[in-house]
Amino acid sequence: MEEMVIETHPTDVSGSATQPGVADAWETVSAALVSAECVVSEQSLSDSLALLCSQGLSQLLGSWLLETLQMRLSSSVVPEFWAGLNQPENELEEKGRAWVLLTAFRTLLHRLEPFLGGLDRLGLWQNEGRGDLCGPGPKGLQDRAFTIIRALLLFSPSPVLQERVLEFYSRTFSVYMNQEGEAEDGAEVPDGPEGGVCPGCGVLTQQCWCQEALEQLQELSHILSKLQLLEWVSSEAVTSILHKLIEQRMEQHCRGEYERSFLLEFQKWLEMVLGWLSKVFASEVHTDSLAPAPSAPSPSGVQAGQSASSVLKQWRCHMHQFFCRIYVNMRIEELFSIIRDFPESKAAIEDLKFCLERTNQRQQLLTSLKSAFESRLLHPGVHTSDILTVYISAIKALRELDPSMVILQVACQPIRKYLRTREDTVRQIVAGLTGDAEGCTDLASELSRGDPVTLEMQDSDEEGNDPEDWTPDPTDAVPDKMGSKHRSSDIISLLVSIYGSKDIFIDEYRAVLADRLLHQLNYNTAREIRNVELLKLRFGESHMHYCEVMLKDMADSRRINSNIREEESRLSEEEQPPLSLSAIILSSEFWPPLKEEKLELPPLVCQAMEAYTHRYEKLKAMRTLSWKLHLGSVTLDVELEDRTLTNLTVSPIHAAIILHFQEKSSWTLEELSMKLGAPKELVHRKLALWQQHGVLREEAGGRYYVVETGSSKEKMERGAMLIDSDEERDSNTTTQSEQREEKLQLFWAYIQAMLTNLDSMTLERIHSMLRMFVATGPVVTEMDVNELEAFLQRKVREHQLLVSAGVYRLPKSN
């Protein structure tokens, strides 16, 4: 009903009134409502009001007033405001623009004030229930008025407003921060080379308008809060300013700086920023409390104060949120570098942990970190040991960041997957464990750390942990059979579990150990014993048994050697062996398979070995020795006409070669290869060492000669020549893949037997049968179905097996 009336013009209402006095009364009342100063006496006003009431027109007053406000706004006030704002185009300086902004709002307030006053008055009347006026009261009326103002004014705000507000706020911000933080930040604000520029307002000092700007800010805030436009006009600008400034500050202070914590520093700074915010938002507190509204002083004042402080509180939260988010964003970007520098970057990790708990960015962190790993680490250009080093740092850093280990588990998945494809991973890890690797000493120290985590962790379920301590997994945890309990953070167990099996590591360690022991000259095994003991703590006694036997072999060999030496020393001068021979005597079943190479040694050496064997047989009844001729090391001197090379340590084949040259000063490759019983390529490679030493030279026709007199010049050349001196520290043990092959060959016998008995079997059946039968031997490591399938496929290609419809059978023989 009311709405209908509003549509019609109020004058019509008065015109159609029957009593002529009604029109006058309407004029009086409406004039009193819309004009600021009250011209009419209180008495006549209340009379008029009473008259209107008696005519039942008083109900229309509120609607009329709002309608008028709306009309006035859309017809003049709003266009005037925008025009005022746009008026000077872009000609003015910043200070001028600030002034224009303020003036525009001032005018706005000036235009609207009468209406607000009228509304207030009407509301009061309503409250007093004068002349049976009833309605929402001043508050409700004003709310409606403000809604109309907002709607009309900001219906299509021109970007100019935001721009100006932003500019003005930024300026006041820098002024404020400059004044507040003079002592602290003074040095950091660029004063600029041209002295005399105010750091606050950025103009020459004599034109400084810092103080003015702050006053203007206060007035603007006042106006805005009066019109209840504050939140609408400023929020956006303030948000973007805060964002920009926090970001800026972070870029300047924190980027690339991981060794310091920034939380406190920022906390302080944010408190300062809050001071500025209180200037922007809390001005109403001051004005309201200074000049409280005469009508209802206490309730509205308190309310405003409360709302202001709650607004500030809200902004404080916002600001912290901004800070955390921006910080996390930046650190996520840098996480790879942070991890790389880990022990030094601990502060950054702790900050990040704090902030990450407050923002919901774990997923972002994971994705970004994963892709950083993939693009920066996991490509062929990176050495395996470097990947391992980063992985170890990542373990250390991420377990700091996320004690639930979920981030660690998820983010490092690609690394583990990739490491699995590298051939030398195990070797590198083992080298790291034994302290042989150059770069990473972490592993060795990790190994010798007290309180090791045993790799058997299956029984930890029953550990009577307090159920109260249980915390659920984060939502991004990878669901797997292993609960959070089993998400290990132990570096060694994580590395070892890359392959899912300890045996591979132990095999590899055995190979490394064998290498090291065989290259020993003096049976010194103190370090190896220590390592084996440490590994025993981790892998368990039984797994390291073979290594223990190997070490025992070394000790036994030493004893046997000294025994035999003693025996030899009792012999007469003539019977003394022509060669001082000592031996490492292995228990072949316990050593990793050693490389077989054919080699025939000069008779002198063979005789010495025979004599040694003989003595051994006397020492140990019913046992004999089988020499690995190509293994071991020889220390020798080479005397040439004009020089002597002393104390060279070479491999047996090198020694054999040079011994042959003692007999005859020139050999062809073929002759040598015949004599040594070794392939030509091998001999050729081994000759390189002597060429490098300048003892031999190759001449046309593939003949090698002894170089009796070597000029120094020639030596220089040779030094520069540096022939690729083959794999001097060539591994003595067979490679992993060779061993693997051998194992599979072992399986072949089983498979053949099974197929002979059972005629035909599926892949799965073969696999499970093999697991059942062959699960016991120490050489058998887990073999997955795929590997078996590949093996069987090869057998099929070699026509040793038939396959049809997934069923394998042996070909009908004969």
Partner: protein
Amino acid sequence: MLSERVFCSRQTRKMKVKIRQWNGVASWLWVANDENCGICRMPFNGCCPDCKVPGDDCPLVWGQCSHCFHMHCILKWLNSQQVQQQCPMCRQEWKFKE
């Protein structure tokens, strides 16, 4: 020694290799006519299932029938025989070879 020096000078070869030390590598093995122990089926060069260390700690013994076993294996076997002590391979009476 003397003759060699003469030999050397005649050939005008002067290079001489003096071996200070030759460190060889060998593996020991039992002189047995079989690879594996007939009782535990483990290699002779390894040790019986009860032992950890091969060689001196887990020796082989030969019977007069010329069959040999890990000492621990055959002793266990013999102890389990109530009536007569036989070689598990050939069923002859077991006597240790001296």
